[in-house]
Amino acid sequence: MLDRLAPVRQAQWDAAMATLREIDPGNPNLTEVATPGSAPSQAALDRLEAAVKAAAIRRVADRVMPGGVPIGVVGSSPDIAVLPGGEKAATELFSYLQVGTKPYDSDSSKTIVQLPQNGGFLTLRPRSRSGAPAIDINVLGITLKRIHFRWERDGCPRPFH
């Protein structure tokens, strides 16, 4: 019986593997291979895509909340962090976080990217309301939702630790 969706699943599988390789080169799911000569089953594809989503969320979480503790110092709430370094630090961190994501929208006032498999959204805003850059983290399960990047001259409030 002809499996008309086989090429679609194969393409999705290849894309998911490429994304996973980018996000987490050591991920054990990268060694999983579909049956030689045939496209992956939908169940196998679902498992792989779930692994990609988990890896993408873990990559962000491990960077902004290593060991479950937010980086930087506490802002207006436990969900908000403050880091020094201004735009340079914000851009560097965002460059790391956006690996494996898809561009969603971008202009001079913001960049929005989407994590794979509807894992959530991240934004970089060069100027928040206070004027300093900010990264927003809209990923369910990552309780840190925003990082403000102060200019060095502004100093920092009390630390998380």
Binding site: S77, I80, D105, D136, N138
Partner: protein, 107 residues
Amino acid sequence: MVALDRFINECLEESKVDYVGLWQIAQTTRERFGAYTTEDARELSLKVVRRLYEKGLRPGDYWGSDFNYWPDEGCQAALDRIEREWIEAGADPNLAEPICWFAPHPG
């Protein structure tokens, strides 16, 4: 109630330096207050929004540059609009489709 009061105060503090997104409120209802479905999140978020409105925050559209306040037709009108747009979306607001953000009353 103490936890909700604390969250309200956190939003008010954050509004002094940056806009507070409805997405932040929605996500917090799930992470801190046990909202499981988007209906739960909406119900709890609207309670938070009401309190924020009473404390002087107002909703508006924002995407990185200017903040455009919604016409201020009172708290209930704001709640109704948020509820309507949330139901239409069928999912929690997020950074891509935030419905609204909050900033201190312009006056």
